[in-house]
């Protein structure tokens, strides 16, 4: 089973192709990533001497993350799955972060405006993802047993965890983490593919302002 995995949630763009959850090829794009997403998909397929029709499923990181990045990645993936008639697998950013270390763990990322996205992962499944004020979240994490991993997407809160050797900062979701998350994520099929939307997790800033 061949899977194309796309991640446009952060400052880098990742394109992976896996075969039965083994990495076949991976590429990380650094500048103007979203513009070159499709060109890279094309190149990755060519590298493996396969065509889009050889893909058995499409996976995409649906957020939370960069608003525009997610719109581009999710649209790209939905459209490919729609045409190729393959299942579509949405991967949550926080799940992929959690997949990169042992559980129990916390994952978090800056949501702007003094908010952060976060989730706690017990030994098996995750608690709901949420967005709350940074201080509340960090207090909650610090109050948790210090044998728990803390994985941040980015490094905004690094200083808050100085001295904690279980704090990890990641500037992108590594291939292994994406593949691990891929294994545990559910898939969407048929008519439901069209209605997949990014997991923005919060209204746009304009809507937030309007509701205050």
């Amino acid at each position: 089973m061949r899977t194309l995995v796309l991640d446009t949630s952060g400052p880098f763009t990742t394109v992976l192709i896996t075969e039965d959850y083994q990495l076949s090829t991976s590429h990380i794009l650094r500048d103007r990533p979203a513009e070159h997403l499709h060109e890279q998909i094309h190149a990755s397929l060519e590298n493996l001497c396969i065509t889009p029709q050889d893909l058995s499923q499409i996976a995409v990181v649906i957020g939370p993350g960069s608003w525009t990045g997610l719109n581009i990645g999710v649209t790209a993936a939905k459209t490919l799955a729609q045409i190729l008639e393959t299942p579509l697998i949405p991967i949550y950013t926080l799940d992929a972060l959690a997949a990169s270390c042992a559980k129990p763990s916390w994952t978090l990322m800056n949501a702007g405006r003094n908010q952060c996205y976060y989730a706690r992962y017990s030994t098996s499944d995750s608690q709901e993802m949420a967005v709350d004020p940074i201080d509340t979240v960090i207090q909650q994490i610090l109050a948790d047993s210090n044998s728990v991993y803390v994985v941040e997407y980015g490094d905004t809160f690094k200083e808050r965890f100085t001295g904690n050797d279980k704090y990890l900062s990641m500037d992108r979701l590594p291939p292994e983490a994406l593949i691990a998350a891929l294994k545990t994520s559910g898939s969407i099929e048929g008519a439901d593919i069209k209605s997949l939307t990014p997991a923005y997790l919060q209204p746009s800033h304009v809507e937030q302002d309007a509701s205050h």
Binding site: R32, H36, L37, W67, G73, T75, A77, I83, K194, S204
Partner: protein, 344 residues
């Protein structure tokens, strides 16, 4: 040649299938008016989110209505230049996936070229280069000489607001709903166009320059001044001022550049009194007026597919890494024009 055309340049998600640049097999549009209404203008992040939510439904519907499937497409075209960046990238991402998965050419189109070519669709035999194109929309008001496929010369444009934007702002002030120009046209039918003597900025200047913001200010002041306003009279007088400005500038430029065919494009081209006034003026000057089919005036995917049919023959396909630009020069000569944004 069957081309799927996509337009997500602003706040409407458009998808259409057009055969050989002429035959519109389908043309579907999802409007976002309601999502933006309470903010008093288009909010780019919301527009992008709405496009992402709707684009795949629009694609499916466009194919379904055309009674074809993805594998029957010969090319995919998308507006990648001119509009809101956050919106453009969504349509472009979908178009690239289609080109990639179907193995068909990708054709990037300047959104304004879509408007211009809405006139050639079904009528490329009657129109002869060079001709004049007056594009009047929510985001732009400009006069172009269309020299050949993909080659344009700018002969005039607005210094400030676009005509459609001014129509929309006044309509909003009167709480008439969207599209503002259509609502004003409806009210104006029962009104007296001479009831108010609104200014017609720059009308006597012998060039193609437009200015609408002074007119907008005067109309809004008139509304605020009078609690017992006769809305029909006000709309009729306001609409007349816009028509006078558009017609006089278009006729002046047509004469000066000896262009006998004048095309009208953009959402404001739907306005019947404007069409009539242009026809009337054209008779006097022995010019011929072309207006697009009504379903091709406001932003839509069909005009993009139509433009792509003609321009593909000139320019060929684009690569999968084409980018997006909010303000892009137009055509082979790189025409630049001031684009006063109607967006927040």
């Amino acid at each position: 040649m069957r081309i799927l055309g996509i337009d997500t340049s602003c706040d409407d998600t458009g998808g259409a299938v057009v055969e050989d640049g002429h035959k519109v097999l389908s043309n579907v549009i999802a409007s976002q008016y309601e999502a933006h209404d309470r903010f008093g203008g288009i909010v780019p992040v919301i527009a992008a989110r709405e496009h992402t939510a709707k684009i795949n439904f629009i694609l499916e519907l466009a194919l379904e209505k055309a009674r074809i499937s993805f594998s029957d497409l010969d090319a995919v075209a998308v507006s990648h230049h001119q509009g809101l960046m956050l919106s453009l990238v969504v349509g472009v991402s979908a178009a690239k996936s289609i080109a990639l998965a179907c193995g068909i050419p990708l054709i990037g189109i300047h959104h304004l070229e879509g408007h211009i070519y809405s006139n050639l669709m079904g009528r490329s035999n009657e129109l002869r280069f060079p001709f004049l194109c007056l594009t009047v929309a929510g985001g732009h008001t400009l006069l172009l000489k269309v020299i050949s496929h993909g080659t344009y010369e700018l002969l005039g444009h607005t210094r400030d607001d676009a005509a459609g934007e001014v129509l929309d702002k006044v309509a909003r002030h009167l709480k008439l709903g969207y599209p503002g120009g259509a609502a004003i046209e409806r009210l104006a039918e029962k009104g007296n166009p001479n009831a108010y003597d609104f200014p017609r900025p720059l009308i006597n200047r012998p060039d193609g320059e437009f200015s609408f913001s002074g007119l907008k200010t005067a109309v809004i002041a008139a509304i605020d001044r009078d609690p017992d306003l006769n809305q029909a009279d006000l709309c009729a007088s306001f609409q007349q001022a816009i028509i006078d400005l558009l017609v006089s500038k278009a006729m002046h430029i047509a004469k000066e550049h000896q262009l006998r065919q004048i095309t009208l494009a953009g959402g404001v081209a739907l306005n019947t009194p404007l069409r009539k006034a242009l026809q009337h003026a054209a008779k006097v000057h022995a010019c011929e007026i072309f207006t697009p089919r009504s379903d091709l005036c406001m932003d839509n995917g069909a005009m993009v597919a139509g433009a792509a049919y003609f321009l593909y023959q000139e320019r060929g396909a684009d690569s999968l890494n084409i980018g997006t630009r909010a303000n892009a020069p137009l055509g082979t000569t790189g025409v630049r024009y001031r684009h006063e944004s109607k967006y927040k």
